[in-house]
Assembly symmetry: C2
Homo-oligomer: 252 residues x 2
């Protein structure tokens, strides 16, 4: 654990002041919540795996030219990131109908959408992260038109790349959530992909069996939650030695 004072404790991560100015440390917890934190639990080793998976995905995305907040992984549960002003919008992309979209729009879970659909949710736990449109975002000033255009452009690129990455390891990327942040560098503001990318924030189905390999196993009490997160990490080639996870869980 870090010796520093937390600056924010979220549902899945704790943020600490970073070692360098303009940085923060994301500490990945094993805590899991669902249905706006009405359901709570623990997924052993999740923090370690999500830290590794996020590192891998952010590094790959930077490689294709997506700016991200990720600087480097510090240890098994922590990563150093650029501190940013989070745009209060959760950006969701859906390739296949699942979860709340199936329910809200009366669509069949598992139906592939004619094209990816980008949704925005206002990031406010007290309000249950309500769905909003670009009209709300622009009128209420949560992001400018230019920012929103850039966010959607980046999001669609991330979607294409990650659909490919996941398909390469036999996984369908059903949907996922991204967060973006503003960073100031020598008087110029630019947007970066922030937060995390992990099975906590996306739906991953095995390409052959359609078996769920994400937090839906926890949400829906399907069992095999730890194994699913491990399998995603293993297929991505980032599974740490199992000995490492076990020891981490013991001294947590």
């Amino acid at each position: 654990m870090s010796r520093k004072q937390p600056i924010y404790e979220g549902k899945a991560k704790v943020l600490y002041e970073g070692t360098e100015p303009g940085t923060i440390i994301q500490y990945f917890k094993d805590d899991a919540t669902a249905f706006n934190a009405q359901k709570r639990g623990t997924i052993a080793g999740k923090g370690v795996l999500n830290n590794m998976i996020t590192e891998f995905v952010m590094t790959r995305l930077a490689e294709i030219g997506i700016p991200t907040h990720f600087i480097r992984r510090i240890n098994m549960r922590e990563q150093l990131c650029k501190k940013c002003e989070i745009v209060p919008i959760e950006v969701v992309v859906r390739n296949i109908v699942a979860g709340s979209m199936a329910k809200r729009l009366g669509l069949e879970e598992g139906e592939r959408l004619p094209r990816p659909i980008v949704e925005f949710y206002y990031k406010d736990d007290a309000l249950g992260d309500p769905l909003v449109s670009d009209e709300h975002i622009l009128a209420l000033g949560w992001a400018s038109a230019e920012e929103l255009e850039e966010i959607v452009g980046m999001t669609l690129r991330v979607n294409d790349y990650l659909c490919g990455l996941m398909r390469g390891i036999g996984i369908k990327l059903v949907d996922f959530k991204l967060e973006f942040g503003r960073v100031w560098e020598s008087d110029f503001m630019h947007l970066v992909l922030a937060d995390e990318f992990s099975p906590d924030n996306c739906r991953l189905w095995d390409a052959v069996t359609n078996e769920k390999m994400d937090k839906d196993r926890f949400r829906r009490d399907l069992g095999g939650v730890e194994e699913a997160y491990q399998e995603v990490a293993r297929r991505l080639g980032v599974l740490p030695e199992s000995a490492d996870i076990e020891s981490l869980n013991k001294d947590k």
Copy 2:
């Protein structure tokens, strides 16, 4: 082999009239050429592997909403496609400097470009497929501004997806060539991705060792050409039973 009369024999494929109106059959040969056909040879089993790899890639791209000419694979060496009017432009995307770009612009082979670069080559063997810009294409009427915009948009999506797909199986997608064609359906013209996607038309480097896994092994006499094509097919999960390839090569 097909019983039909060939309508075109190219360097790597033969085209036959398809079984249904508006279709063609692509027959994938083992013939290999390089340096505008000055170098010629054979890569045993290449036709089978390129048929399988192209089928897999075209199917995945259709899944994310890229329109393609591919209808279905017929047998080990043939696939049925929509017949189209090929836009006489080879569209090349480069993520990492290699080949002619290194030589022409004095750049280091292996350098990652700040962003993907799209190049156009006029498809004319007699002229050696010269590099052209959008100015040439528009002024000489090879494609309209609207078509070119759509082609570039599709090409960049294909690039993001395939970079991910390849990275998922431990391969860097260095560069590749695409062809597009016009298809008329009930009075409306639309563009589709045509031709093939295979190690004949792209550069693939192992993500860890940077070993070449594409036609450069043939161009540069590096040996292990057949093995490289097989390894790409194997990692994509489309390698046919080796018995099948051997028998196909024997009775060819």
